[in-house]
């Protein structure tokens, strides 16, 4: 069924439903515009609707004992050339073993489907696709796939064995050092650059899918639900229900859409977790250190258009944050505790400037009277417009600083150009008005010029100083 046909079917069905039961059939005939197939389909749906009384109306019952336990192979079991050493991970989605490849005498990670799913052709295809997707990426931070094996009818992926633990385990032991967290995030971003360049979107990035080797290097694993460019996405029919909700961006959760920016969102969640030990949406979460605040805030933007658009951009932003954290130009302290007094002055500055700008409308109004005519009106309108923009933006920043500190870096960046422009227009209009008044009303002229020069210097000299003090160490 094409999307167009579906739309028509939907219109027919819902339209007929609004009719009294007796006239539904004739209504359908009339509105199907001769398309018999569609009319039949709609009629069948209406019949199904009539028998669906109570269907799905009662929410499902949940047995608390709902955890899927899976029988893992015992150590020492031989699977073709592999000998199982132990079970690394046993989840509902798959089992991962540490095994020895007896041919090459090396350790491998063997991933298999849970026994009860091994006969499911769709899940088998997914495992094959996982192997192929991961195999197209050659990168130091992506676990290398060695082979896709079929042994006694069971399917396995043999890949690089990483001796170490998962990032999940590391985070569960507590928040990471900011520099370490940023460097891990940068490695993940680099792995994503390689994956995205190969046309692969991971779609299930989470701390449990990032391995940390004993030497500290990281590897991204589990491309189980990755999407590969050029591959029919309908193959992941169960795609609607896969993934890990807590790491999925709104568009993937709500509309089922995902692109490479979904991976970028996931990095934002992971980085926040590394820095604070808590999920970004955890109640009462500790703030993210300043050096990383902008990166996490941009990654976690609900609208994908506001995130970093590529893994390259993300990687660069992380490098910059890492350098700034390393040379001490940006605090690695959480925002709310670091430099509270400087921040207070910055907030005070925003509030004061808003007040002063509002007060300046009075001399501007007087100047308008003195100058008169269109010029006077135009100058006053310019002053008024600039003041409104500048005040609105400053109050927005002040409000953000008070109530959404994590968003502040991003908000400041977006507002910066507009703030400076409106400041300059305001100062310019005031100075010009003062000049035009000339002798007719000396006091007002002096007041206007002084206000103009004052606001210009406040914007160009004082504000950058308070901003630097508040946001740089």
């Amino acid at each position: 069924m094409t999307p167009h046909e579906w739309k028509r079917l939907k219109a027919l069905f819902t339209g007929a439903l609004d009719q009294p039961e007796a006239t539904r059939e004739s209504w359908l005939e009339e509105h199907a515009a001769g398309d018999e197939v569609l009319a039949r389909e709609a009629a069948a749906l209406l019949r199904a609707h009539d028998t669906a009384e109570g269907f799905l109306e009662i929410p499902p019952q949940v047995d608390p004992a709902d955890v899927a336990e899976v029988d893992a192979e015992a150590p020492g079991t031989r699977l073709g050339p592999y000998v199982i050493e132990y079970c690394i991970d046993n989840g509902g989605q798959g089992i991962v073993y540490c095994a020895r490849d007896t041919r090459l005498e090396r350790r491998v990670a063997l991933k298999a489907l849970p026994p009860f799913d091994d006969g499911n052709p769709e899940l088998r295809e997914r495992l094959r696709r996982e192997a192929r997707a991961a195999a197209t990426i050659a990168h130091r931070a992506v676990a290398t796939v060695y082979a896709l094996e079929e042994i006694d009818g069971r399917l396995f992926i043999a890949s690089e064995f990483i001796d170490g633990g998962t990032l999940r385990q590391e985070i569960d032991r507590g928040a990471l050092e900011p520099a370490r967290a940023l460097s891990i995030a940068a490695d993940i971003a680099d792995a994503l650059c390689a994956a995205h360049a190969a046309g692969v979107i991971h779609r299930d990035l989470k701390p449990a899918n990032v391995m940390i080797a004993i030497n500290g290097s990281i590897k991204v694993v589990d491309f189980g639900i990755a999407r590969v460019r050029g591959v029919d996405t309908r193959l992941t029919r169960t795609g609607a229900a896969v993934g890990t909700p807590a790491y999925m961006p709104p568009e993937q959760l709500i509309a089922g859409n995902s692109d490479l920016r979904s991976d970028i969102y996931a990095v934002g969640v992971i980085l926040t977790e590394m820095l604070t030990g808590q999920h970004p949406f955890a109640p009462g979460r500790r703030p993210v250190p300043l050096a990383a605040a902008e990166v996490t805030s941009r990654c976690l933007q609900p609208d994908p258009a506001n995130r970093y658009q590529t893994a390259d951009d993300l990687s660069q932003a992380l490098q910059t944050a890492l350098e700034e954290a390393a040379d001490g130009t940006v605090s690695v302290e959480p925002m709310s505790t670091g430099n509270r007094s400087a921040r207070w002055w910055w907030e005070f500055h925003q509030a004061m400037v808003s007040l002063v700008y509002a007060a300046m409308l009075w001399p501007a109004w007087l100047a308008r009277g003195s100058i008169g005519g269109n010029v006077g009106n135009a100058l006053f309108v310019a002053t008024l417009a600039a003041a409104v923009v500048a005040i609105t933006l400053r109050l927005h920043l002040w409000f953000t600083a008070r109530f959404y500190p994590a968003e502040l870096a991003w908000a400041r960046q977006r507002a910066r150009g507009w703030v400076i422009s409106s400041d300059m227009v305001l100062s310019g209009a005031l100075i010009l008005a003062g000049g035009l008044i000339g002798d007719t009303s000396g006091a007002v002229a002096v007041l206007d010029i002084a206000a103009g020069i004052g606001s210009a210097s406040a914007s160009l000299l004082i504000e950058p100083a308070t901003t630097r003090a508040a946001f740089r160490v």
Binding site: M1, T2, E5, W6, K10, F13, T14, L17, E41, A44, L45, L46, A48, H49, T51, A52, G54, F55, L56, I58, P59, P60, Q61, V62, D63, P64, A65, D66, V67, A68, E69, V70, G92, P114, P115, F116, D117, R234, R237, T238, G239, A240, A241, T244, P245, A246, M248, P250, L253, I254, A255, G256, Q278, H279, F281, A282, P283, G284, R285, P302
Partner: protein
Amino acid sequence: MPLVYEELRRIAAGYLRRERPGQTLQATALVNEAFVRLAAARPRPFANRTHFLAIAALSMRQILVQRARARRAAKRGGLPKQVTLDERVLMGNTPGIDILALDEALSRLAILDADLARIVELRYFAGLTVEETAEAVGSSPATVKRHWAMARAWLKRAMDGGQDDGADHEP
């Protein structure tokens, strides 16, 4: 971890620990409890309620599907009658619904119409009312009611082995 999935599991495990054998829970109750614990806590932990509900509905669907798969596996391993009987007892007077068949049909519906599938997830798996669903998906209750009716009819037909659901008819 304040993740909905884990929170739902933890709540369920809590009920299990309190040793109420044979106790089953309404999915709605679990979702509500998770919401109260996570979202009602001091600062709003989720981007918005919609975000939370989408996560909760999907988590619930995954949990139920996983459980159903494990049960099916257990059935294959023997004791088929007992498990079936057990299930019927546990289900109380709820008409039994094959979660796996529903999951499969729902995935096919999502290909045709993601909005309709989302409404089913919210209505059935998160137990939202029509009004709450309308709020969550940002449309009117009347529209949700119509779409819900269509989704239910389509799913009923697909699950009853209705001849042709049209999902495989891509050109």
